[in-house]
């Protein structure tokens, strides 16, 4: 329940659900780290990056299987593989810190708001429903581009305000690799 509450608050904050109204929500957090080795930003970054990664992996796996172009399939397979490693590392940190891992987001928590930054069930539905062919490749490239912009946004926040050196280093690699992926997907979209 605590996880659900925390997640609901994150979703509210991120999706701007509170537009024009004031939301009152119960929230509880685990105790702050005793040794100052990490801070709230580190925790929030990881909790938000976990579902972000999970959706990205699902999108990439679909494309590794269904894309028509070899270069798109190779890129998608490499994205899925690298993000799976990152995901395991992030979950490991959260467990070590005794912090809840944000998972299984309640889809109703953000209905009508287009999802939070990067976890949007409708995006996966579109991809699942698109048969193999040029349309699939174009849609995948466009949707994953939007998704990876969300990852960059999250990682830039962590790089600036996080404290944990390894989490910040991961954020740095996410910024670099996603930015490069966006560029590469842009060239695939153009040709």
């Amino acid at each position: 329940m605590m996880k659900r509450c925390l997640l609901a608050v994150l979703l509210l904050v991120l999706s701007g659900c509170g537009v024009g109204v004031t939301e009152t929500t119960g929230v509880s957090l685990s105790a702050p780290p005793p040794d100052g080795s990490y801070n709230d930003t580190d925790v929030m970054f990881l909790q938000m990056a976990v579902p972000q990664h999970e959706q990205g992996i699902e999108m990439a796996r679909l494309a590794a299987d269904r894309a028509s172009r070899d270069d798109v399939r190779d890129l998608a397979a490499a994205i899925a593989a690298t993000q799976e490693d990152e995901l395991a590392e992030m979950k490991d940190w959260l467990e070590k810190w005794n912090q809840p891992v944000a998972y299984d987001p309640d889809p109703n928590a953000h209905t009508g708001h287009g999802g939070m930054h990067g976890s949007d069930p409708a995006v996966l539905e579109v991809l699942r429903d698109t048969p193999a062919g040029p349309d699939f490749d174009t849609r995948f490239l466009n949707l994953l581009t939007g998704h990876q912009h969300g990852a960059v946004e999250l990682a830039r926040m962590e790089e600036k305000d996080g404290r944990h050196p390894d989490a910040k280093a991961l954020a740095g690699r996410i910024i670099k690799s996603r930015t490069a992926q966006i560029q590469q997907m842009g060239t695939y979209l153009a040709g």
Binding site: G18, A77, H149
Partner: protein
């Protein structure tokens, strides 16, 4: 409101009342998006077709009050989007053009408007609903010809704001083909040294910081995918 600003709000609220009731202040919509094809000015920044400042990190964030006719949405740090002297690539098109949006978050939409100068050439009603994840509009340019700067405006349904995207077009006739964007510069590996931009088939061997690695799956190397930090792609020998 930026993501960071929201996070700060959240963090400070949590600090003040870790176990109690938290009142979240009202925020603005986090809808974000831009036109990706034909590549808008901010898309060209994100794809490094044109060298840009901050906008290259967040082409989806050109958000300003409704009613502007500006490529930057009035955002000071994105001012370079208004600079017609930058080497924006104009995409060669006919009288009918299909524009595709990339979204990072989809919010209720008032409408989408397309302008050439002060003339509105198209409008698409959003019915105050979320747009679908992939959205394209086919627009007739109304007889325009030559090089044109089209402004697309995404008016959000439940905030006073809109998102702005300028697309450079070369319309019709004898216009030269816009050259295809260059792929990311492929650095030549110096005798087996890992280099981003290089295509590595599964089984390739490289050296990186003095260690030899073998590629586990075919991929093109990217910045941020250095062998030492991507055990999914590279195995140390």
């Amino acid at each position: 409101m930026s993501l960071k600003r929201k996070m700060v709000l959240f963090a400070s609220a949590a600090t003040i009342a870790p176990l109690g009731l938290v009142v979240l202040p009202a925020g603005t919509a986090s809808a974000h998006g831009y036109i990706s094809t034909p590549p808008s000015r901010q898309a060209q920044c994100a794809q490094n077709t044109v060298s840009c400042g901050d906008i290259k990190w967040e082409p989806q964030s050109v958000e300003g009050p409704k009613g502007l006719r500006s490529c930057s949405g009035g955002v000071g740090r994105f001012e370079e989007l208004n600079d017609d002297s930058k080497p924006w690539r104009a995409t060669s098109v006919g009288q009918t053009v299909t524009f595709t949006w990339t979204f990072t978050a989809r919010h209720a939409t008032d409408n989408f408007e397309y302008y050439l100068g002060n003339t509105k050439v198209a409008e698409f009603d959003g019915n105050n609903q979320q747009p679908p994840p992939t959205l394209s509009h086919t627009v007739n340019l109304g007889g325009a010809s030559g090089r044109q700067k089209l402004l697309a405006v995404w008016n959000i349904g439940d905030t006073p704001n809109a998102f702005y995207s300028c697309v450079d077009l070369q319309v019709g006739g004898r216009a030269p083909e816009a050259p295809a964007p260059e792929p990311p510069a492929a650095e030549q590996p110096a005798s087996g040294t890992w280099a981003s931009g290089t295509s590595y088939p599964a089984g390739s061997e490289v050296t990186f910081n003095g260690t030899t690695y073998r590629s586990l799956q075919s991929h093109t190397a990217l910045p941020g995918w250095e062998p030492a930090s991507t055990p999914a792609l590279w195995q140390a020998e």
